[in-house]
Amino acid sequence: MSEASRPVPEVTPETERYWEAAADGRLLLRECRDCGLTYHYPRALCPDCFSDDVDWLEAAGTGEVYSYSVAHSMSGWPADDLPLVVAYVELDEGPRMVTNVDCDPDEVTVGTRVEVRFVDVDADDVAIPVFVPAAE
């Protein structure tokens, strides 16, 4: 899909490391040292216990499609990038994340095994994690 068409995420001090890691080809999660929760999207304080003692954890980048939908038409998105597969991918570490599965809509269903890829955007030091069906 057209990389230039994607909105550029807002990079903040709280999320900078996540986006920089993505630009470096790594998918990061956060893990709470106090209660053990592994979570996404990144937040400075654990959303279960409010501990600020949270680590960055590199995800394996594999998981399965928890759910998906296909946009056949969408204002504000280039027509040649449609249909667009949007999905929740359940990572093998646990968290479900909103993403795209970059493939023909016929290749995806609930439960499809997927692996991460990174798409460049119009900003330095930022890339967006998306997924593709895993190699057999």
Binding site: P7, V11, H40, S69, W77, L84, P95, V98, V121, I128
Partner: protein, 391 residues
Amino acid sequence: MASEEPVYIAGAYEHPTREAPDKSTMQLHAEVAKGALEDAGLEKDDVDAYFTAGVPEHGSGLSPLVAADYLGLDPSYADTTDYGGSSYVSHVGHAASAIRDGKCDVALITLAGRPRSRGQATGSGVRGLQTMQDSFERVYGVTNVTMYGMAAQRHMHEHGTTSAQLAEIRAAASHHAQYNEHAMYQEPVSVEDVLESRVVADPLHLLDCCVISDGGGALLVVSEDVRSTLERSCVEVLGHGEAIGHQDAGRIDLSKTAADQSGARAFEEAGLGPEHVDYASIYDSFTITVLEALEDLGFCAKGDGGKFVEGGTLRAPDGELPFNTDGGGLCSNHPANRGGMTKVIEAVRQLRGEATDEVQVDADVALAHGTGGSIGTRHGAATLVLGGEDR
């Protein structure tokens, strides 16, 4: 334990317009406020509390001040809770609490909007990034309709729900809309019609989605002291509950909504259960919104919603649980892309015996449920249990 003092809805008014190119949104707020006052038999000066949520086109949190200024209100109590479409259902509950606390006696709630005239992109457009979460969601091109599509897809996966079952919901709403002279779409549609409409976001078809309309509505919630002065039949607020559902740190469950909590809280306060409900107004941004809410509110077991809606269950007047007898957001009206207000209004009509003749239910207890935001990410859920005056 909640105070026992009864609180009532004394006035309810739905703007008849569905497209208002020559009126301002604030004008619609004023017209619905006036309509609700006339319905109740109250005067503008009687209003001592004001409730409204944001006006989407303002894009700021100060819309309630703009509205109070325009309307010339001088309230002693104000509440600007904004959960999207569920806001106006929650406002009724908040007004009841404020009245029981002695803060006010006549609470005015208004909603208005002109998304149709403004050509406002609704469910299918990419929006700009505003919230922190948008950088993790909207960068993927997700929209309201694909989010609800994902909920439907997951519900189908877990429970075997079918597109034909979702279509039953639209078909029932359209059956009711044919009797509503103000409904945007009055033509009855069949399950097959829904399935043959184009797919907007798998597995949702165009006819699984609500209308885009201009319009608005208003409610007046009053104390027992005020009600005793009125000749108008009033509706008692028996129970109210709210909840917020969200990403839950990555544990989101797309097959359910926070209606399981808001409904349980409302029924507990009312001392009633789903089995006592004669009529239900269920927020219907999409057919899946209704299906999940029916399960979560306890009208059937989780996962049985598809079977529950088959066979005319939702059709007035003879179905087991007549719903959205005005045609709902799917067929009649969805002002400001926020459907909670019209849900309460139709429940009030049913309990007063003022629904359209063909769909009037013999109703003593009604439920109104609002869902705001997106069940695919984060949403408000607000539930009211309402009782007729002579029940």
